[in-house]
């Protein structure tokens, strides 16, 4: 069993129900495996405790490249421009890949330092189930915000792929808001809902300076949210909301 699988198990993401059950069974009987999982959780807690995780440029580039590869492999054509039709199940899988990639990149970076550019990202198949969506880990939410900021920093509105990816991130943001609401974290849900129109404006605005200003606003508000998460995490158990 790889660390990546354990990490995905911890994040409740990207593993089939069958695989989750296998890991649960193994954890029940294997003390060493439990210890490995505990180390991983500790690492993530340490990562979570850093207010800002600045990924080095090569890692950011690789993350974006990976997201685009995933997108081109699994995405439908770009969305309709002014009404947002309900998405297919396959389109909904992309954010799961994307969030997993974000979380994994953060974890790998803190474990291995700057990774060689040629090293492929290890991604488990994204077959998340509704049962796995019942929890939302703070590292995953932070990864979502980080991933969004990473995309926005170099966002090219003339690229249909990047617009489609931003559209998926907006949809993912909605999902996080909905889950936060369901899990009783209305405070997080409200901030995420407030961020959505900013992202929609970024997606649709043409003037570069205005777009840069909107991105600055997004970064301020997202970073403020992370500061709040950090403050809460230092007082309480940090894993899940």
């Amino acid at each position: 069993m790889t660390d990546d699988e354990l990490l995905l198990f911890h994040l409740s993401d990207g593993l089939s129900a069958e695989r989750v059950a296998q890991i649960q069974t193994a954890l029940a009987s294997d003390a060493d495996l439990r210890k490995r999982l505990a180390h991983l959780q500790a690492d993530l807690t340490t990562l979570n405790a850093k207010a800002d995780v600045a990924l080095p440029e090569p890692v950011q580039q690789r993350l974006q490249l990976k997201l685009r590869q995933l997108q081109s492999a699994s995405m439908a054509p770009a969305r309709a421009p002014f009404w947002h039709l309900p998405r297919t199940q396959s389109a909904w899988l992309l954010p799961a890949f994307a969030a997993s990639a974000g979380a994994l990149v953060m974890w790998l970076y803190t474990h291995q330092g700057a990774m060689p550019n040629t090293q492929p990202l290890a991604l488990a198949p994204a077959t998340a189930t509704s049962a796995q969506a019942q929890t939302m880990s703070l590292p995953a939410l932070r990864a979502h915000l980080l991933q969004t900021q990473t995309l926005l920093e170099t966002f090219d509105p003339t690229s249909s792929q990047e617009r489609a990816l931003l559209g998926e991130i907006i949809a993912q943001n909605q999902n996080y808001a909905a889950r936060a609401q369901q899990l009783g974290r209305a405070d997080l849900a409200r901030v995420l809902r407030a961020l959505e129109p900013v992202l929609v404006e970024v997606e649709n605005i043409n003037e570069p300076s205005a777009r840069a200003a909107l991105i600055e606003q997004f970064e301020f508000e997202a970073n403020s949210l992370q500061t709040k998460l950090q403050a809460r995490a230092s007082k309480q158990a940090p894993k899940t909301i």
Partner: protein, 327 residues
């Protein structure tokens, strides 16, 4: 993470993003001198909102962010001073956001006072921050601000209520709307919230008319739309409801459109079903209809829809038509 599919659509949110913080369109539509002045002010605010901070402003904004983790009794006086003395509206706007995130009575009171007494962009930011903060007492004060506010302020209040997920408050605004123009953005807000029950209540009271049909569609209320599509006396409204099924676009909605086409009482309803299928990109149903078309006129109309869709089904039909066959 793959999470549950929210019914909230970005459609209404995009509406707010485009209009609530400016109100330009509303003001220009009126074209009175006051409205023109308001539009000019709104445009200036928009320009200021959409600019990058200077170095000094960036430093002040970084300091504000640090206040997020400071004790409220220390942070609130500093923000109050910033709002009073700082010259930059950009910095003040960020200060209002931080204020909305502080959990203290003093912060809530200062934010509400800002929403009530400030003007222009900063008032809009304060209203938004109340929505983000989510304090029920402050949110309860928003309808009064809405009642006396400009279209831009009204848009900001609706956005705040959307952020706060306060369906009862939006419902209250729907019930007290003075005219259809004022009601429409309120309906859009309810739709964006997925407030199906509230929309149905409005429908039962005869409020909303054809705008309500669109709201049902955006809110994803398949049963509500189908009820109108099947039973409403007005054929125009039935057609709008059928078209709205295309916005929902789920397999059940697609099946309903096909059924409505096959049982349509008027040509308008048939055309609406085809338009709905076009919106939902339901090539399979349209191809089925094409194959089953009984008259040349019907075949032409369905073929026209197929060709607008493009895709494999359309090419298959075009190829067959060129060969004088039915695919």
């Amino acid at each position: 993470m793959l999470l549950t599919n929210s019914r909230r659509t970005p459609l209404a949110v995009a509406f707010f993003a485009a209009s609530s913080l400016t109100g330009v369109a509303h003001a220009q539509a009126s074209a009175t001198p006051v409205a023109v002045q308001q539009a000019e002010q709104d445009a200036a605010q928009q320009r200021d909102r959409r600019r990058m901070p200077s170095d000094d402003e960036a430093l002040a904004i970084a300091a504000l962010r640090a206040l997020m983790s400071a004790p409220p009794e220390r942070a609130v006086p500093l923000i109050e001073r910033t709002l009073r003395l700082q010259k930059s509206d950009l910095v003040k706007a960020r200060a209002l956001f931080v204020l909305g995130q502080i959990n203290s009575q003093a912060a809530r009171m200062l934010l509400l006072k800002s929403a009530q007494e400030l003007s222009g962009r900063l008032q809009l930011e304060a209203i938004r921050s109340i929505g983000i903060g989510g304090d029920s007492g402050s949110i309860a004060a928003l309808p009064a601000i809405y009642a006396n506010g400009s279209p831009a302020v009204q848009g900001a209040v609706l956005e705040a209520l959307l952020i706060a997920d306060s369906k009862p408050m939006v419902m209250q605004l729907a019930l007290t709307a003075k005219n259809p123009k004022q009601l429409e953005p309120v309906l859009n807000t309810l739709a964006a919230m997925g407030a199906v029950e509230e929309l149905r209540q409005l429908g039962a009271r005869g409020i909303g008319g054809d705008k309500l049909v669109h709201a049902f569609a955006v809110a994803g209320d398949l049963a509500g739309l189908l009820n109108i599509a099947r039973t409403h006396a007005d054929s125009g409204l039935r057609a709008k409801a059928i078209r709205g099924l295309g916005i929902i676009g789920t397999p059940a909605a697609k099946a309903a459109m096909l059924e409505r086409y096959q049982n349509a009482k008027t040509a308008l309803e048939k055309s609406a079903a085809l338009e709905g299928m076009l919106i939902a990109n339901d090539q399979k149903s349209v191809l089925t209809l094409y194959r089953n078309s009984k008259t040349a006129a019907e075949k032409r109309e369905v073929f026209s829809t197929l060709s607008k869709m493009g895709g494999d089904a359309a090419l298959e039909a075009i190829d067959a038509a060129l060969q004088g066959q039915t695919p």
